[in-house]
Each structure stands twice: as C-alpha cells, then as structure tokens.
Amino acid sequence: MVSDPNLYDYWPYAGRPQIRWPGSKKLAFWIAPNIEYYEFAPPPNPKRQPWPRGNPDIQSYTQRLWGNTVGHWRLMELLDRHGMRGSISLSIGLIDHHPEIIEACAARDWEFFSHGIYNTRYSYGMDAAQERAVIEDSIRSVEAATGQRIRGYLAPALTHTEDTLDLIADMDFWYTCDLFQDDQPQQIKTKTGKLVSMPYSLEVNDVITYSVMGYDPFQYADILKRHFDQLLEEGEDSGTVMCIPLHAYLVSQPHRLRAFEDALKHVAAHSDDVWITTGREIAAHFRENYWETASADIAARGVVTGGTGFAPAE
C-alpha cells in the first residue's frame, strides 16, 4: 500500500495557462447519465457486499430497475428538449438486458463509456488479467452493439485496483472519470498511453446530493446553478469543465425532474459561452491542444515527482 498514488503532479489552480474550448467557449459542460445494471443475485466480493441488506434486496433492486424502465426514458426526452447529448456511463451488461436503451441512445449520437460489466461486480481483488478482461469485454461489446470505440472509463461502483488506470491507458482510452482533484483536465502519469483525468463530480452527482446528503430537489437545482456560475466565471481565465453525473432512478423521480430541468435551462441560457458536449470530445480537445502546454506549466510552476501511478520515482 502507498500513501500517495502518484497518479498526477501538483498543479496550482491559480495562474494556469489559458485553455479555450472550441468556439472560444469558457466552460465545457457535459452530462453523464449512469445507465447501470444491478444484479438481482450478485455474487459476493471479499471487500464489499453488493446489497447491504443481503440478497435479494427488493426495494433497492427494483428502484434501479424502475430507472431503466421509466426514468431513463424521461431523462432522455428531457435532454432532447434542450438539445443536449449524454455521455453514458454504462454497465456493459445492460447491452444484453436492455438493447432498446442502447439503440435509443446510439440513434441520438450519445457517447458510451465503460462503467464495468455490472455495478454489482467490483474491481477489488481482481488481478491485472481479470481487470483487463473486463475492459476488453467493454470495448468489444459496445463496438458490436453500436460501432463506437469507447474512450472513457469509470470503474464499476468506483472500485479500483493499483492497475486500473495503467490498463485503460494501455488500451488507448483517452480519459478517466475516476479522480476528483480538479475542475480542469490533466494528464495522468501512466506507464503507457495518453490518459486525461476528466472532471466528473461527486459533489454535484445526484447519488451524493440525494442519497448521501439528503438534499431536496430545489436545493439540488440551486447547487447546480451556483456550481455552473462559478465555473463559468473562472472560465474567463482558463477554460473549466462541469459535469453533471446522473442516475435516472434518482433524478427522474416524479418529484425531482422538473427542478432538474430548471437547472438545465440555466445552462442552456448561457450557450454563447458554454460548450455543451461529451466527455470524449473534451478529452480529445485537451489531448490535441493542451497536453504539452499543461506539461510545461506543471514543470514550471507545479511539483513534478517523476515515476508513474503507484510506481514512485526511485
């Protein structure tokens, strides 16, 4: 075990070189609906029990199933109304269970990225070959269903190993949503590849705001607007990223969806300054235009420690 994962170098937020998004936009905004499949009878994992109450957990399982049967479709139509595309954090197994969802999203040119096979199968305890198999399954399954080559990763249920980021970088992924240290992209120190840490979010993620913090829908909408306003203001200096990670089983509830739509309207009203896009496109823009700039600034004003993730410099 290490104290410091050494996945990225220290890069002070103030005084960074200016990032501009396409069209000279100041804030890159993306929405990441998590379309997850939780198993009815998941196997045990030595580090985490899938259902805290034990199998089967009817209440928790059916709430998530409701999300795929009803909630997702409401959310998709809501994004349609505002001309926004989703970047789907996908439980890959859902391709087999609910191909109708995949088809509907693909028809809208939404992006898919991997969130593991099921959200009840954790990375804890996997060796590198097993974790590689999950990632290869992800690439193969989405490609077969949609023709799309996935470029992003969010480990299932945020469970990681020391190998996770090296593995996805080695398989030519462009971005990871697993890290929360910044409001701008930054390169990850992997052994191979060219992997960007993409601002996702826990703080404005509906699981945190609804299930952990217990905020009401109006508080959540208010938080989203404030978060957006601040990051847009700071985008004047250097382009920022805001992601809203969602789960239809929470945000699409009948008592919550209209409040959420108010927040989306607020975002849409600022489209002159905001690039409403997908995770893949933000990662591509950073990799192509700012990778070297960021490296040079980190070397000049940050703290470069050498080595790679979980492999510190000798």
Binding site: S3, Y10, Y13, E162, D178, Y215, R301
Partner: protein
C-alpha cells in the same frame, strides 16, 4: 464483581476546573475587556491544509475526512486533494477580494509536498500556523514523549515562522501543550474553553488558547450536518453580530471558524463564501485578523482579569 472502591474517590473534586492549565472565572464575574483600536469583537479565520494519505492508520481513531472505501480509495484521496490544488486558491482569491487575512494551519507534509501553495499563502501575507505532520499523525496518549516531540520538531523545522498551533483532528495527549510551549508556539487553537484569549499554563511557560468554534466548523455543518452553504454562512454572520452587540454586556470577545478548502472551496459554495467574507469585512465593530494577532489586540487593552 463490582467496581473497585476508589472508583468512588474524586481527587480533583474542588472549585474550578479539574486540571491546572488555567484558573476558572465565570464570564459575568470578571472585568470586561476592550480592544486596541476600538472595535467590539474579533473574528479569526482558520484554513486547514491537510494531507490525507491513501493508507491512513486509525491511531487512535481515523481522522475525520480520511479514506472510507477499500484500498485504493482514489475517490476520497482525490476529493481531499482537490482542496489543496483548487479549492484553496479560490479561498485565497475571496479573502483577497474581501481584504481579509487568515491563518492557514498547515500539515508539515502539505508544506513539504506543495511549495508553490506555501509561496502563494506567504506572498498574500496570511499567517502560517502549524497543524501537525498530517492527518495520519494524530497526537494522543499512546505516543511516547519522544515520539510526540519528534512530530512537533518536524513541524517546527518545516514551518519555522509559525507561532500558532492546531493539532490534527484537534486531538492532544495530556502533555501536548507542554511540548508545544517548549517548541516555541504561543497560540493554541485546540481548546475552545472561553470566548476571550485564555492564558494557558504549561511546564514551559504560558500559551494563549483561542476559541475556534467547533459548532461553526464548515465540515461539521455542511458535510456532517448537511446544511446548505447560505445557512452555514448566515450562522457565522450571526455569531459575529452577536458578539458585536454583546460587547455592551460583556466587553470584547473573539471567535474563530474554519474554511476547509475541500468543503468551502467547492464551486457551488463560492457565492456563500464570498458573501460571508464581504459581510464580515464590512461589519461595523468587527475586527477580522489572523489568530496570532488576536491576543495582542486584547493584551494592550488594559487590565486583564483572571
């Protein structure tokens, strides 16, 4: 088997407190104090800069905010690191805009890891206080005196200018204040036993204890208690107004509160933080200054009751 009979003996049962760190006088039975400069109350702002390692010990308990999920908990590691990379620079900007100076209580490991951050704090003219080695180095009775002295010595070496001290998790052993005084610290932020600077006896000369109010902690109110940022900010403003008004009854008083970078430095809390700092800065009768300057404002104000 019953408890031993000496469980019913009470060797420290007497008037005042059950230790020798300070004398006890109730608030209404001591002379009111006044402040140099004529203000009525003092607020001080503590910005804790903490390093949360990926492999935290639980010795003697897990530090609040430490890793929660199985190793490697990248989720909490990076969420805390956000504060030191991004959130703190937001707070520096808002403090500057409000014209306020704060006390940055810094883990030695943060100072060692992030020199550019230390340079930004020093350049802005804020107070740098010592905050132990890291969140993995809690002071407690299980440490030997040599071990605890070594921890304090490391902080002294890394932050030579610091005169104020905040312990990690605000936890101490019985001997911690004695060792802090020996190491040259003069202001102690762990004890919130009064509303005015409190002269605190140690084996190595006195410290001044200042009331950093746990009930106004941003971590406690907004993370543990899940309050909205405007509600949190309103309570600090209320505390400041209360003390300004209460001056007529009780004389000058002081209080401190925290701005934790990974909590108060979140974008969606920014508007509330800005409003809070601007309101305190403009409040009639309120002095806002670094912790290390608080005692001096009181000490020059006439006779101190004790």
């Amino acid at each position: 088997m019953p408890l031993p009979n000496d469980y019913l003996t009470y060797p420290h049962r007497r008037h005042g407190v059950d230790h020798d760190r300070f004398a006890w006088t109730p608030d209404t039975q001591r002379a009111p104090l006044e402040l140099t400069g004529g203000k009525k109350a003092v607020a001080f702002i503590i910005v804790p800069l903490e390093f949360f390692p990926l492999d935290p010990p639980a010795e003697p308990f897990k530090h609040p905010g430490a890793m929660k999920t199985p190793y490697p908990d990248l989720r909490h590691y990076t969420t805390r690191d956000y504060g030191n990379r991004v959130g703190v620079f937001r707070l520096l900007k808002f403090l500057d805009a409000a014209g306020l100076k704060a006390t940055f209580a810094v883990n030695a490991e943060v100072a060692e890891r992030y020199p550019p951050l230390m340079a930004a704090i020093r350049e802005a003219g804020h107070e740098v206080a010592a905050h132990g080695v890291s969140t993995a180095h809690i002071h407690h009775e299980g440490l030997s005196e040599a071990e605890e002295t070594a921890l304090i010595g490391r902080c002294r070496a890394v932050l030579p200018e610091a005169t104020s001290w905040l312990s990690p998790a605000r936890n101490e052993s019985y001997r911690t204040p004695d060792l802090l005084a020996a190491a040259g610290y003069t202001t102690l932020l762990d004890w919130e036993a009064d509303q005015r600077p409190l002269s605190f006896a140690t084996e190595n000369g006195p410290l001044t204890a200042l009331p950093l109010m746990h009930e106004l902690s941003d971590f406690k109110l907004m993370v543990d208690n899940r309050q909205q940022a405007d509600v949190w900010a309103d309570q600090i403003i209320e505390a400041a107004r209360f003390h300004v008004v209460d001056h007529a009854r009780a004389g000058a008083q002081c209080f401190g509160f925290t701005l934790t970078p990974y909590v108060a430095g979140q974008p969606f809390r920014a508007a509330s933080v800005k409003r809070l700092l601007n309101t305190l800065s403009a409040m009639d009768g309120l002095e806002v200054c670094p912790a290390g300057e608080v005692a001096g404002l009181f000490a020059q104000a006439g006779p101190q009751a004790d």
